[in-house]
Symmetry: C2
Subunit: 219 residues, 2 copies
């Protein structure tokens, strides 16, 4: 109802935009990119169809915003998990586990974020977020080089290897719903183990950490 850019109005605008993007993310997490229609999202957000365009340029902008919100949450959760005190090996393992665990918890969303064909606008966002994960892993690897817990290696390359490995391995059958499979635990262990093997730790088995908790808590 307000009309000018007072703080009150600004907050209201922001709240409406948030409702729009959240509605899009809900549809994305349930049914993928094709489920995001402007009219449907507007209905979910309890606004008129045309109002969507007051907040987002066009549908591509809506898709990109939905991607950024969902992917941004994931990256934040993994970043937080890796920010704990402790040796690089442990931080790396927890980052990998949290990444994989959340992807398996929300398979449909993971597929949408990691692999589902979605148009060039979303593709461009994907590249940005992959770079974010690269940087996160790179930082941990450099720490490992500094404290000699990881042998000399090309941290840029290994960081990219980790990002690619996780992304590719967690793209399962898109038809599969979010139902947890009994194989999930072993697949997760196999994936984390393979990723950790790729990192040249000074000691063969740096950690025996087994942490399956989810510090992020998806709403």
């Amino acid at each position: 109802m307000p009309y000018r850019r007072t703080t009150q109005v600004q907050a209201r605008l922001q709240a409406t935009r948030d409702r729009i993007v959240d509605a899009a993310v809900r549809r994305l997490a349930t049914s993928g990119w094709a489920a995001i229609s402007v009219a449907g999202v507007a209905r979910d957000a309890q606004i008129a169809t045309g109002t969507v365009y007051r907040h987002l340029e066009d549908k591509d902008a809506l898709l990109a915003a939905a991607f950024r919100r969902a992917a941004g949450r994931e990256l934040q959760v993994v970043t937080d998990a890796a920010s704990t005190e402790g040796p690089p090996a442990a931080r790396l393992e927890v980052a990998l586990r949290v990444f994989a665990d959340r992807a398996l918890q929300g398979r449909r969303l993971a597929y949408a974020l990691l692999a589902e064909p979605a148009g060039a606008a979303v593709e461009a966002e994907r590249l940005t977020y992959r770079a974010g994960y690269r940087a996160l892993f790179h930082d941990i690897l450099v720490d490992g080089l500094a404290d000699r817990s990881i042998q000399d290696h090309d941290a840029e390359v290994v960081a990219a290897v980790l990002v690619g490995a996780m992304s590719e391995a967690l793209v399962g059958d898109p038809v599969t719903s979010d139902d947890a499979s009994p194989d999930d635990a072993s697949r997760l262990d196999a994936l984390v183990a393979a990723c950790l093997r790729a990192v040249p730790f000074a000691t063969p088995h740096p950690t025996t950490l087994v942490s399956t908790d989810d510090p992020g808590g998806s709403a």
Copy 2:
């Protein structure tokens, strides 16, 4: 006498279609997806613009065909390289090296095939070809399990890890032209080494092509 598609006519049609797709691939390899315009491709193929649509449904079909031709060649080359006689470890290493080497030789094309935003049609093709690489690596890993040269592991997961690792690590700066960088050789070695580390070989160093302990090895 009614018009029939004689083998001769069939061959000519095929040849024209091939010229169209090849022209698209040339533009792709030089300048990426944005460089593929129907008019430009038609000019390169020395046909009228409208003729393109007699061979391909629409632009998306042209893009998809260009992807399949370029990506199909790559997959074939890697498959052939991995089809040699020899232990699984050697076949895997040569497959990885050929994959990476070709990507570094043609950076622009590699970026286009592996990562460049290109629309949903091309995206869908990408998933298909990634599955092809997964199958290729999976076969080698299973061979290694059979002859005990590779320890017990989840071959599906490790195959996915290898595909993802290679794809992600070879997506360099898209601005960079195809000029070979002096770092290429060491980056390639680092990448192949990281991938091979992810595979639990029964013996630490299955081949002498890669040294994982001493970074001092000169290429």
